[in-house]
Amino acid sequence: MDFTIQNQKDTRSGFGEGLLEAGRRNPKVVAFCADLTGSLKMGDFAKEFPSRFFQTGIAEANMVNMAAGMALSGFVPFTGTFAAFATGRVYDQIRQSVAYSNKNVKIAASHAGVTLGEDGATHQILEDIGLMKMLPNMTVIVPCDFNQTKNATIAVAEYDGPVYLRFGRPKVPNFTQVDEKFIIGKAQMLQEGTDVTIFACGHLVWKAVQALPILKEMGINAELINIHTIKPLDVEAVLKSVGKTRCVVTAEEHQRNGGLGDSIAQVLALNMPCPMEMVAVNDVFGQSGTPDELLKAYHLDTPDIVEAVKKVVARKQ
């Protein structure tokens, strides 16, 4: 895998471009936004397809159910707001009218995790992956960079069924391939290795990429897999890798409870118990700060991944 940084871009802009492209490919794609058009980068779609864009005002519950109503007649609605308000605020609306009713609604959620920064804990949701993955019928996608978010958005529009698509605010290294086809549910092998498997998602994928040369220097040959689809989880890829490496580190910008690590742990406990460490937020709320400060403060940075790998490799021996 080529880890060359093409540029620094925010994943939400990847969503904005992906939505525009999806709208061009399929006239049934429509979009709703609850007074955050600029933040979600939905402005270009709104401009090109004004009759297919619905400004709902600050009314997330109404937005979700209107999208479900619209999906009935074959439209492909995306709803856009911050991840905190896209999930927790409207959980029952999603549960009953989208997941249980199995409607083709795409919940686009920006500003997830601590990297939202200075707005603080009210806005930094760290529980959304758990909330969404617990719902039957729901697909949960957490792409890692701009290109992947754009490609995921296009794939999500083509897929039939409820989807939660999580992305973020800050500019981060953009390194995946420009037009790589995004395959929902298929784990992405970033580097093969033998000593440990690192499973990462979202912004933490790049943090894990940066850990690879450090680990190599220590004599640890790590395998890195990007789990961009938390649900359905690519169980085959997980077991294949761990069958070889026999120990695991997971890394995510989310609570340990309910996150990627928790999904992986479930698969391993049932099929292949082995030492495991989790890089995640552990049962606390976020706070104000810059994204970089917060990643350090909540132990979600490259050194934390390196430490977790050292620890888990030692536990294996």
Partner: protein
């Protein structure tokens, strides 16, 4: 307090807002500047409070809730200037480890804050609950809540708006920062609120209107509203404000809802606001 004294406090609060938002290069100056006069009049003239002995339960004093938590710089400045915590702490706004989080929280124990806000639409319900508790406690004091106008688009607001008159919650004074703007643009373009006064009246509220940047008018309307309490109905004050009030280039637009000024813009803004109580 005299009107002149209140206006001088408001000028300093506006300086604090600009300096806080500029200092951390984030936050919400527009709504903060527009709502400054309302909350200054409340905290420095109208409300019966004991800042030196902040009590979470608010028993035996008036209570204020900020539902539109994004205008936290205004709230923090007024709390500090009123004596809830040291003024110099304003310099920590939005920085790692601060008690002055981006949106008000109770997690860090900042005196003056009784509940987290930031996710819009929840404050009116909280205020109704607190007002009912005062009734149960036999406490004659009043509960105040400030909300945004864009915030009125949240359905939960109307759940509380229906409840309060139906249940005779008459020790409650809600105020709307009626600046007719929100993030994506003028409220009329985003989602028109229609005749807000008529809507609240139809729900059973007693509605007052005021020019929300006129200190004299504010002081009078708050007195009037206070006299009207305990007469069977909740009250709403529609406070017509100007987003960005006091800084010419921040007025007449929604662009400064959540944008921090750069060095040059901050200097320009501060040149328009008299330093009356000493900068933090």
């Amino acid at each position: 307090m005299t009107i002149n004294e209140l206006e001088r406090i408001a000028s300093q609060v506006r300086r604090d807002i600009i300096r806080m938002v500029h200092g951390c290069q984030s936050g919400h100056p527009g709504g903060s500047l527009g709502a400054t006069d309302i909350v200054t009049a409340l905290y420095f003239d109208q409300m019966q409070i004991d800042p030196a002995h902040f009590r979470m339960d608010g028993n035996g004093e008036d209570m204020f809730f900020l539902s539109n938590g994004h205008i936290s710089p205004m709230f923090y400045s007024i709390l500090a200037r009123r004596g809830y915590f040291p003024v110099k702490e304003l310099a920590t706004f939005r920085r790692l480890g601060t008690r002055l989080q981006g949106h008000p929280t109770t997690a860090e124990g900042l005196p003056g804050v009784r509940i987290a806000s930031g996710s819009l639409g929840q404050g009116l319900s909280v205020a109704v609950g607190a007002a009912q508790a005062k009734k149960l406690n036999g406490d004659q004091h009043i509960v105040y809540v400030l909300m945004g106008d864009g915030e009125q688009e949240e359905g939960q607001i109307w759940e509380a708006a229906m409840y309060a008159p139906a249940k005779g919650v008459d020790n409650l004074i809600a105020i709307i920062d009626y600046n007719k703007k929100q993030i994506d643009g003028p409220t009329d373009d985003v989602l028109s609120l229609g005749d807000l006064r008529a809507k609240y009246e139809a729900f059973g509220w007693y509605v007052l209107e005021v020019s929300g940047n006129d200190m004299h008018a504010l002081v009078n309307i708050l007195k009037l509203a206070h006299e009207n309490t305990h007469q069977g109905r909740p009250q709403l004050i529609l406070a017509h404000t100007e987003m960005g009030m006091g800084v010419d280039f921040m007025m007449g637009t929604h662009k400064w809802h959540g944008t921090a000024p750069n060095d040059e813009q901050a200097a320009n803004a501060l040149s328009q606001l008299e330093e009356t109580l000493g900068d933090y």
